[in-house]
Symmetry: C2
Subunit: 192 residues, 2 copies
């Protein structure tokens, strides 16, 4: 998506250690009118799939998932990373390793909100090694719902998570795939 | 807001210990088309205040804050509860006690995204004792931005957080104020 590539080149910052900082528009400050356009793009790519539920994981996936759910006029379920007083009863739980935090956490969804008959589109802000997506996919399988596919705003192609999912026959649509970054001269190469 | 009161009565569940469970539409599964209506209501209440930034805190405030930011056509900043690789550099940090989790955490906002000249509307899903809002208000003050007011979807009036803020001259708009709940017979009384 050219609009997104342009935004990444203009507003993104490359830091040492393969960090692409897009916290000016995607995951700390959120450019909501811009994310609305991204939500429309996900809708266009999956509009023939009878999606009736968007699934994401807290926190930075929620805004783009909400903008996407709005286009599908369907509910959004966001998986939680800890059990609170507000989640009671039967849950799906799967362990996930966090690349950003360097820890392991549980991905939790109440059984009440996901199950047979649902056609689920998973949306997240980033796809790198794919741990979060794998956890969400596990939960969709366990629930008996149908997985329509996964949409990521930015995929770090060189970390392989997206391609591993595609090899397993899962439809993965990333609005921009970064193939390489160079923090010394600030360049980014995108997959065509 | 009558639409919201009706929704709470239809879909909310009252549990022992003053828990109002609205995870079917507000903070786990999110009824996005419905939240869009709530976002419009916040816009109507604050539209003359020249709001240029919505501030919330992860995670369950993000969806309603995004729906509100969409109406104002302005960015949303969501405060984080932990420092990640994605937040670097100067930050505002204030400690907040969590009523839901029973712990203390830091509320963190990058200085880059909040400062003098901003007119900030704070949005959250729940207002109970007001700890999260107080933390966000502290950060707005520290940043030199102007606080326009606070909007909460559901205020638990009997916990006093909203009225304490109002006493301090802060404009607080809650779309539904619960005055009392009875988990034994499942009744909810709203403030008029």
């Amino acid at each position: 998506m050219e609009l997104l590539k342009k935004k990444i080149l203009e507003d993104g910052e490359i830091h040492e250690g393969n960090i692409l900082k897009v916290d000016g528009f995607l995951n700390h400050q959120i450019d909501v009118p811009f994310l609305k356009e991204l939500g429309k793009e996900f809708y266009n790519r999956f509009k023939n799939e009878n999606v009736n539920k968007i699934l994401t994981i807290e926190s930075s996936g929620i805004a783009i998932a909400a903008m996407t759910a709005q286009e599908f006029e369907c509910p959004l379920v966001f998986a939680k990373k800890s059990i609170t007083k507000n989640i009671a009863g039967d849950i799906y739980l799967t362990p996930v390793e966090s690349f950003t935090h360097g820890t392991t956490y549980g991905v939790i969804v109440s059984k009440q909100f996901l199950g047979r008959g649902d056609r689920v589109l998973i949306i997240d802000d980033f796809l790198a090694v794919g741990n979060a997506l794998n956890g969400l996919i596990e939960i969709v399988k366990e629930s008996g719902a149908d997985l329509v596919g996964c949409g990521a705003v930015i995929e770090k192609g060189y970390q392989g998570g997206g391609d591993r999912l595609r090899k397993h026959g899962i439809r993965v649509e990333s609005l921009a795939v970064v193939e390489s970054m160079d923090h010394e001269n600030g360049t980014i190469e995108f997959r065509d």
